[in-house]
C-alpha cells in the first residue's frame, strides 16, 4: 500500500496534544483573571449625567457621607440623594453654573436624574448596607476612597469570593463605629487591626453569615 499519510503526520498527535494543553491552559488562566470581576469591574468609571466631584464635597467641604446617602444606616440601600438634597445648597451656591444645568432642570421639571450605576450586584444577591455600617465596616472597604475620587469608579471586585474573605475574617476590616464614615482613618496608634479587630468581633458578638441564606433569598 502506498504512503497514504505524509511523514509529518507522525508527529501530529503529539503536536496537537501539546497545542491543546497550551491553549487550554491559556484560556483557563486568562478567563480566571480577565473574565472575573477583579478585572472586569474594578476601574469601571462611567460618565455621569452631572460631573459630581466627591473630592470637593466630601473632603474639601467636609460633608458626611450620610448627608446625601441618607438610607445607609437604616436600609439595605445607601440611596443616591434626590435632587432636593443637592438643591439644599445649590439654590445659593453656583446658582448659574453650566455644569449643574441638568440638576436645575430636574428640580424645575420634576424629572429625576438618571445616574449611571457603578456598583451592581446580581439580582439574586440581597445586600444590606445598614447592618454593615452599623457594625463597624466602613464605606472604604467596599467603595474605596470615594471621598478623594473626582469621578467615582469601582474600587473592589464585589465578587462573592471577595465578600466571603471579609465574612470569614471580619476582624481584618472591622473598626470602631465612630470611624466608619471617616474614610481616611487607618488603623494606627492604639488600634492593631488584627488584635483589636478580634477583640471587637468578640465584644460585639459579630458573626457574619457564611451560609447561603445570608445573602441569597
Amino acid at each position: 500500500m502506498a504512503n497514504v499519510f505524509p511523514k509529518w503526520c507522525n508527529w501530529l498527535p503529539i503536536r496537537l496534544l501539546a497545542c491543546g494543553v497550551v491553549l487550554g491552559t491559556t484560556v483557563v488562566v486568562g478567563m480566571s483573571y480577565y473574565f472575573t470581576p477583579k478585572y472586569v469591574s474594578i476601574g469601571y468609571q462611567p460618565v455621569q449625567p452631572i460631573a459630581f466631584d466627591h473630592s470637593i464635597h466630601a473632603t474639601q467641604l467636609g460633608l458626611d457621607c450620610r448627608y446625601c446617602h441618607t438610607g445607609v444606616e437604616s436600609s439595605e440601600h445607601a440611596n443616591i440623594p434626590n435632587s432636593q438634597t443637592c438643591m439644599n445648597c445649590h439654590t445659593q451656591i453656583r446658582k448659574d453654573s453650566p455644569k449643574l444645568t441638568a440638576l436645575y432642570d430636574s428640580w424645575r421639571t420634576g424629572q429625576p436624574i438618571h445616574w449611571v450605576r457603578i456598583h451592581q450586584l446580581p439580582d439574586h444577591v440581597y445586600f444590606n448596607h445598614s447592618v454593615h455600617v452599623n457594625r463597624g465596616i466602613s464605606c472604604v472597604r467596599c467603595h474605596g476612597n470615594v471621598n478623594h475620587m473626582q469621578v467615582v469608579r469601582q474600587d473592589q471586585p464585589l465578587s462573592m469570593g471577595w465578600c466571603l474573605e471579609c465574612h470569614r475574617h471580619p476582624e481584618m476590616q472591622i473598626r470602631p463605629t465612630q470611624f466608619v464614615f471617616n474614610l481616611d482613618w487607618k488603623p494606627g496608634a492604639g488600634f492593631d487591626q488584627e488584635v483589636d479587630g478580634k477583640r471587637l468581633v468578640k465584644e460585639w458578638n459579630v458573626s457574619p453569615p457564611i451560609t447561603c441564606a445570608g445573602c441569597h433569598r
Partner: protein
C-alpha cells in the same frame, strides 16, 4: 478476583455497604387509619403505581399528545443554537440609579411602610395593615391593634391585593361598548339628574352591594332626601335576609334604626352546637369567632379544659372537620333536626317559649342513621351547659328555623352571654324583587349598579336579566368587566378598596377607617365619589366626606370632643390606627326585648317543613364556595388555584354527592382509574344533568365521603360567561337554578347521568405519604391517661445521627415552628399568605393535574373512619368519616434528606437550623424533591411568571396541553401590574429551579438586621422575643402556627415543644425536623353514639388491647408493652 458484596465479607458487621433499613410501621390490620381520598382507601393498583413515582409517570403524555420528550428536545435544540448568535452579552449593560427629585415623606428606599385600612366585606370588614413598597401595596396583614382581628386575616383578604393588580381590570369609561371619558360620563349624569329632579327620582333605581359603611349610609340618606322616590336596593346573593327576618320576629325591634344582630361570643361557650353554620370558616363566620373558639379549644396539657363542638350539616365543612361529633343531615332536614333537639330539651326539663312551638307530632327520620340517641345526648349536653352553651344555625336556613333556634338560645340563657345583641347598620333597602317589579311596570328608566353582578347572580325566577336589559339607562360601576357590564350602557371603572378613602364596620360593629395605599391605577371612582356626583357634590379629592362622617360621630354628646383641633387630632389617630378599637359606630342602642308573642305567631304561621330526601326526592344545596365566595374572586388567580379545603379541587367546581348516592345512581367511574385516563392520577367525575323546578343544569360530579345522602351540593360562583383571562371557562353556573324562595336548598330535584366524564384538577392525591402515621390524635380522656400517646405509633429511630454532618447549631437564633392540629381549622389563610409573601406563581389547571402546583405550604386533608369497615370491592365506602387538617410547610430537617443528594449543593443547612434553598445554584436534577419524605419541595417546570398558563378552559391548545409547552414560541412577558405585587425581598424563581418554604427567611434576616442595627457596637444581637412572624403564622386566625427562636427561653415555641403531645412527622426516619406538630386532641362526649371512635383511628387497637387487659387483670393499670419501650422520644427539633 470476584468482587463480593460487602455484607458477605466474613467478620465485618452487616451494616457496612448496606442500605439503611427503616422499620416502617405496619399498616393496622383493620385497614388504613387515615386516607386522603377514596382511591387512596381503595388503594387501587393504578394509585399504587402513581404513588411509587415521585413525579407521575408519563406526566408529559397525560393527554396523549404527539409532542413527546424527544420531539420537544429536537425543537429546543434548534432554537438554542440560534440564541448563541449575537454575542450581545459581551459588554456590561449600563444600568441606572434613579432617585426622586423630592422624596415623599416617610419613604426610605428599601424599607416598607405599613398603613392601616380595612377590607370591606358583607359580614363585617376585616381590619388590615398593608405593607407598601415605594408607594405600592404588596402584602396584606391583619391589624394587630384591632380587637376584631388581632392581626389575623383570612384567605380572601390575603388574595384581595391581587385584585388590585388584576390586568383585566377596567381601565376606561365605556359607553355602549366604546371607550369614553370621565367628562362625558359626568355630562351624561347631568342630563339624568335633570330627569330625576322632575320625578323626584322615581325613575331611578340603585342596586348596591352590602357596604357596611357609615359614610355611604350618610350619603345615601342625603341622596334619598334629594330624590325621595328613588328605589335603593342592597343585593347580596349570599345574604338572603332570613336572619334579619328571624331577628325581627324574635325581638321587639323592627326594621328601623338601629337594626339588630346577634354576635356569638364563643369565648364564653363551653358547648357549641352548629347546625349548617360554617362559623369556623373565617370568610363566613368571621375572624373573632375562630380565634375565640380556638382559645377555648387549645389543649396545652393533659387535662386542660376544652370546649365541645357538635355539628350537623349537609356537606363537609371546616366546622364539621373540627367537630367532636358530626351528623350528616341534609339541608332541608336541619329544621327537623332542630325541632328534635328542641323536643328533647323540653323533655329534659328546659323551660321557655320554644317548648310551645315544637311540633311534638313530627318525628325526625333520617335514612340509615340512628339519630335518637345522638339528639338525646346532644340536648343533655347543651342543657347542662346552659348559658355557656350556644346553638348556631346557618344564615341560609329559612327564617322559621333560625327563629326557633333563637327561642332555644333564649331558653338556655345564651342571649346576652354567648350570643350578644349588637347594633347593625340599618339600610332601608328594597329587595331585588321589588326592583324587578318596578322594572316590569316600566317605572325605572335608569339603574345604577354599584359593584356586584346582579345580571349573573340574581335569582333566576325574577327574570332579572331581561328586565335589566330593557331599562333604557344602565350604569355599572365596577372593578372588572362582568356580565352586568356587558349589557350596561355606561361602564364606570371603580377604584379598589386599596385605592379608596372610606370607612366600614367590622363584624363586631366597631368603626374602621379605610385609607388608600396608592392612587387609583386607572383613575377609577370610588363608591363615595360616585354617590357624591349623583348629588351634584364635587368628587372628593381626599377624605373630606369620610372625615365629615367621622366628625359627626365624634361630636356625639357621648364624647367630650368639641373643638376642630381635637377633631383633627382624633381623625389623624383614627386613620393611623385604622379605627376606633371596639368602639361601636351606633351609640344609640338599647338591649332588645325578647318578644315571645311575635315569635310564636310567626312560627305558627310559618311552620317548619319536614321532608325526607331520598332517591326520588333529591335535595340540591346551592352553597357558598370556599374560593369564589359568590363569584367575585373568579378572576383572581390565587383563588382559582386555591385548593378547596374539603374537596381539594382547584380551578373549578363540581356537584358534590355522597358515596351512597353515587352507588345508587351509578356515578362511580370517578373512582376507577382504568383505561379511561391512562395511568395518571387525575380525578374524573361523571357528568350529570340536574333538574329542579323545570330548570336544568349540567354538572360533573365529585364524590365526597361524609356528604349527606341524596343531597347534592352545588358551589356558587363559577361558570361566568364574562370574566377575565383567569376565570374563563371555569366550572358551571349554579345561579340559573337559584330562586327567591329557595336560594339555598330545595327538594324534589332529579338527576340524569349523561354518560361522559370530566377531569378535575384536584390536589388531594398529590404528594401522598403512603399511609405512614402522619396524623396523631387522641380524645381528651385518653390524652389524660396517656400523655405520651404520640410515641405509641412510632418506631424508635434506627440511628442516633446520620453520616451527614450538619453544621453545629450554635447560632444566636435557632428557628423552629410548632403547628397545633387541635386548633387548625383548615381555612387555608396561611396558604394564600405564603403565596403573597413569597411570590409563588400559579401554574394553571393542566399543571395542577400533573401535580405541579407551587404552594409552599399545603393543607393535607385526611379522612379517618375507624368505625366503618372498608370493603375492598368498592361496593361499600365509609359514609361518615372524620376529617383532620394538617398544614405542611417545609420541615426544615436538621438531618435533611434533600441536602445530601443535591449534586451541586444548592440546598444547604445553615447554623440557625434552616434548610436553605439557593436558587442560583440549582440545576434542576430534582433529586432533592425525590428524596424528601414529606413532599414539600416544588419544581418550576415552566416559566410560570412570564409564559401564559392554562386556565380551566384551555385544555386543548397547542399540542393538546397548554401554551406553556410552546416554550420560547409562546408569548413572553408578565403583565406589569402583576409584577408590582411581587415582594422585592424574595427572588422570583425562573424555570428549572426547585423551591420550598424557607421559614420566610427574608423576614428572619430583616429582623436580625434590624436588631443588629439597633445593637451597633454592643453584643445584643438576639431579636426581641417572638418579634418576627412568618407569613403563615401571621395570617393564621386560630394561632395554630407558632414560630420562634429556640434559644430564647421566653419564646412560645420552646414551651410548645416540651409538651407531651408534641411530635415530628415520620420521626423514625431520623430527619429531626424543626417543624413539629401538637397532636390533635378531641373532646367527644362519651355518651354520644360512636364516641369511642372519635379520634381513635390509630389508637383503636391499643385501646381495645387496653380494655382487654383491664378486663383480665383488674389490679394492673399499665398499658401493655408500649410504656416501657417508649424511652426514645421522637426528636422534636430540640438541638
Amino acid at each position: 478476583m470476584e468482587c463480593q458484596p460487602a455484607h458477605y465479607m466474613r467478620g465485618l458487621p452487616q451494616v457496612i455497604g448496606m442500605k439503611r433499613k427503616y422499620n416502617h410501621p405496619e399498616q393496622p390490620t383493620t385497614g388504613k387509619a387515615y386516607w386522603k381520598s377514596v382511591e387512596d382507601l381503595a388503594h387501587t393498583e393504578h394509585f399504587q403505581r402513581y404513588l411509587e413515582r415521585e413525579f407521575p409517570e408519563n406526566a408529559d403524555e397525560m393527554t396523549k399528545d404527539p409532542l413527546t420528550r424527544r420531539t420537544f428536545l429536537k425543537l429546543m435544540g434548534a432554537s438554542l443554537a440560534l440564541a448563541g448568535v449575537g454575542l450581545s452579552a459581551c459588554r456590561r449593560p449600563e444600568a441606572h440609579l434613579v432617585p426622586y427629585t423630592k422624596t415623599p415623606e416617610w419613604i426610605v428606599a428599601g424599607r416598607y411602610l405599613p398603613y392601616a385600612t380595612a377590607h370591606p366585606r358583607r359580614n363585617g370588614a376585616v381590619p388590615l395593615l398593608v405593607s407598601t413598597y415605594d408607594g405600592r401595596p404588596t402584602k396584606i396583614e391583619g391589624n394587630p391593634i384591632h380587637p376584631a382581628s388581632k392581626g389575623k386575616t383570612d384567605a380572601y383578604a390575603q388574595a384581595s391585593v391581587l385584585d388590585l393588580y388584576d390586568p383585566d381590570r377596567l381601565r376606561f369609561f365605556f359607553k355602549d361598548g366604546i371607550e369614553s371619558t370621565q367628562a362625558e360620563f359626568f355630562s351624561a349624569l347631568e342630563k339624568l339628574r335633570a330627569e330625576w329632579a322632575k320625578d323626584q327620582g322615581e325613575s331611578l333605581a340603585i342596586i348596591t352591594e352590602e357596604y357596611l359603611s357609615p359614610t355611604m349610609e350618610r350619603l345615601r340618606g342625603d341622596l334619598t332626601r334629594l330624590y325621595p322616590n328613588l328605589t335603593w336596593s342592597t343585593w347580596e346573593p349570599l345574604k338572603p335576609g332570613f336572619t334579619e327576618e328571624a331577628l325581627g320576629e324574635a325581638f321587639a325591634v323592627g326594621k328601623t334604626e338601629p337594626r339588630l344582630r346577634l354576635v356569638p361570643d364563643l369565648s364564653k361557650a363551653k358547648v357549641v352546637v352548629s347546625l349548617d353554620h360554617d362559623f369556623l370558616n373565617p370568610s363566613e363566620g368571621g375572624l373573632i369567632g375562630v380565634r375565640e373558639f380556638s382559645n377555648r379549644r387549645r389543649a396545652l396539657h393533659p387535662g386542660a379544659e376544652m370546649n365541645r363542638l357538635y355539628a350537623a350539616e349537609p356537606r363537609y365543612t371546616l366546622t364539621g372537620a373540627m367537630a367532636d361529633h358530626r351528623l350528616r343531615i341534609p339541608a332541608s332536614q336541619i329544621g327537623s333536626f332542630l325541632t328534635a333537639i328542641g323536643r328533647e330539651l323540653a323533655l329534659q326539663g328546659l323551660t321557655g317559649t320554644f317548648a310551645t312551638l315544637i311540633d311534638t307530632a313530627s318525628k325526625l327520620s333520617l335514612p340509615g342513621q340512628d339519630i335518637d340517641k345522638a339528639v338525646h345526648e346532644l340536648a343533655a349536653d347543651l342543657k347542662s351547659a346552659g348559658s355557656e352553651g350556644i346553638l348556631l344555625v346557618g344564615e341560609h336556613q329559612p327564617a322559621n328555623v333560625q327563629a326557633l333556634a333563637i327561642a332555644i338560645n333564649e331558653a338556655l340563657g345564651a342571649i346576652g352571654t354567648t350570643l350578644v345583641p349588637k347594633a347593625a347598620l340599618a339600610v332601608p333597602s328594597a329587595s331585588l324583587k321589588e326592583v324587578a317589579d318596578q322594572a316590569k311596570a316600566g317605572k325605572i328608566k335608569t339603574v345604577i349598579v354599584f359593584g356586584g353582578n346582579p345580571v349573573y347572580n340574581a335569582p333566576a325566577d325574577l327574570g332579572f336579566v331581561d328586565l335589566f336589559k330593557k331599562i333604557p339607562n344602565k350604569i355599572h360601576h365596577t372593578l372588572l368587566v362582568n356580565e352586568t357590564s356587558k349589557v350596561s350602557n355606561w361602564v364606570v371603572p371603580a377604584a379598589h378598596y386599596l385605592e379608596s378613602w372610606g370607612d366600614a364596620l367590622a363584624e363586631d360593629g366597631s368603626y374602621l377607617s379605610i385609607q388608600p395605599m396608592i392612587l387609583p391605577l386607572y383613575d377609577g371612582l370610588t363608591t363615595v365619589d360616585l354617590l357624591c356626583k349623583l348629588q351634584n357634590l364635587p368628587v372628593p379629592i381626599g377624605p373630606e366626606q369620610v372625615k365629615k362622617t367621622f366628625a359627626t360621630w365624634l361630636t356625639n354628646p357621648r364624647n367630650s370632643v368639641t373643638t376642630p383641633e381635637m377633631i383633627a387630632e382624633s381623625w389623624e389617630k383614627h386613620v393611623h390606627d385604622g379605627g376606633q378599637g371596639t368602639c361601636q359606630y351606633s351609640w344609640e342602642f338599647q338591649e332588645p326585648m325578647f318578644n315571645p308573642q311575635s315569635l310564636s305567631e310567626f312560627l305558627i304561621k310559618h311552620p317548619i317543613k319536614h321532608s325526607v330526601p331520598s332517591k326520588d326526592n333529591i335535595e340540591i344545596v346551592k352553597a357558598h364556595d370556599y374560593s369564589m365566595d359568590d363569584g367575585r374572586y373568579n378572576n383572581n388567580g390565587w383563588m382559582q388555584e386555591f385548593p378547596d379545603p374539603i374537596t381539594k379541587m382547584t380551578w373549578e367546581n363540581a356537584a358534590l354527592i355522597s358515596p351512597t348516592m353515587a352507588k345508587d345512581f351509578d356515578l362511580w367511574s370517578g373512582i376507577k382509574f382504568g383505561p379511561i385516563e391512562g395511568d395518571a392520577g387525575i380525578v374524573t367525575g361523571d357528568v350529570i344533568e340536574i333538574t329542579a323546578h323545570g330548570v336544568t343544569i349540567t354538572a360533573p360530579v365529585l364524590i365526597v365521603p361524609g356528604h349527606a345522602d341524596y343531597s347534592i351540593t352545588l358551589p356558587l360562583g363559577y361558570g361566568r360567561t364574562m370574566t377575565g383571562r383567569v376565570g374563563e371557562g371555569s366550572g358551571f353556573d349554579v345561579y340559573p337554578i337559584r330562586t327567591t324562595e329557595a336560594p339555598y336548598f330545595e327538594t324534589g330535584a332529579t338527576i340524569k347521568k349523561l354518560g361522559h366524564h370530566y377531569r378535575f384538577a384536584v390536589t388531594q392525591d398529590h404528594f401522598s405519604m403512603e399511609g405512614r402515621p402522619l396524623i396523631k390524635e387522641a380524645p381528651k380522656d385518653y390524652f389524660e391517661r396517656h400523655p405520651d400517646f404520640v410515641s405509641y405509633t412510632e418506631e424508635p429511630a434506627a440511628f442516633d445521627h446520620g453520616f451527614y454532618n450538619t453544621p453545629p447549631m450554635k447560632a444566636v437564633h435557632e428557628w423552629a415552628m410548632s403547628i397545633d392540629l387541635t386548633t387548625c381549622v383548615g381555612c387555608n389563610a396561611c396558604v394564600i399568605a405564603c403565596q403573597a409573601e413569597n411570590n409563588i406563581p400559579i401554574v394553571g389547571k393542566d399543571q395542577v393535574m400533573r401535580g405541579r402546583e407551587m404552594l409552599w405550604i399545603r393543607i393535607d386533608r385526611y379522612f379517618s373512619s375507624p368505625n366503618e369497615k372498608f370493603v375492598q370491592d368498592n361496593q361499600v365506602l365509609p359514609h361518615d368519616p372524620q376529617m383532620i387538617m394538617q398544614p405542611l410547610p417545609c420541615m426544615q430537617c436538621e438531618n435533611a434528606p434533600c441536602e445530601t443528594v443535591c449534586p451541586v449543593n444548592a440546598t444547604v443547612h445553615n447554623e440557625e437550623g434552616l434548610n436553605v434553598m439557593v436558587y442560583n445554584r440549582c440545576i434542576g436534577t430534582r433529586y432533592c424533591s425525590n428524596n424528601c419524605p414529606y413532599k414539600v419541595r416544588h419544581f418550576n417546570y415552566f416559566d410560570f411568571n412570564q409564559r401564559p398558563i392554562a386556565n380551566a378552559k384551555s385544555e386543548s391548545l397547542f399540542f393538546g396541553t397548554s401554551k406553556l409547552y410552546e416554550g420560547p414560541l409562546a408569548p413572553k412577558g408578565s403583565p406589569e401590574t402583576i409584577m408590582l405585587q411581587k415582594n422585592p425581598n424574595v427572588t422570583v424563581r425562573m424555570r428549572g429551579v426547585m423551591e420550598k418554604c424557607t421559614y420566610c427567611v427574608q423576614r428572619l434576616e430583616a429582623a436580625k438586621i434590624d436588631q443588629l442595627d439597633k445593637a451597633g457596637p454592643t453584643p445584643n444581637v438576639m431579636i426581641p422575643t417572638d418579634s418576627v412572624q412568618t407569613a403563615c403564622q401571621q395570617a393564621c386566625p386560630s394561632d395554630a402556627i407558632i414560630f420562634g427562636n429556640l434559644n430564647d427561653p421566653a419564646s412560645k415555641v420552646v414551651g410548645l415543644k416540651k409538651l407531651p403531645h408534641n411530635y415530628s412527622l415520620l420521626a423514625y426516619l431520623n430527619t429531626r425536623p424543626r417543624t413539629t406538630y401538637l397532636a390533635r386532641i378531641r373532646n367527644p362526649n362519651p355518651k354520644m353514639p360512636g364516641a369511642e371512635y372519635i379520634g381513635m383511628a390509630q389508637l383503636k387497637e391499643l385501646r381495645e388491647a387496653e380494655l382487654h387487659e383491664h378486663k383480665e387483670s383488674k389490679e394492673e393499670k399499665t398499658v401493655p408493652g408500649h410504656a416501657a419501650e417508649s424511652t426514645i422520644q421522637p426528636h422534636g427539633g430540640q438541638s
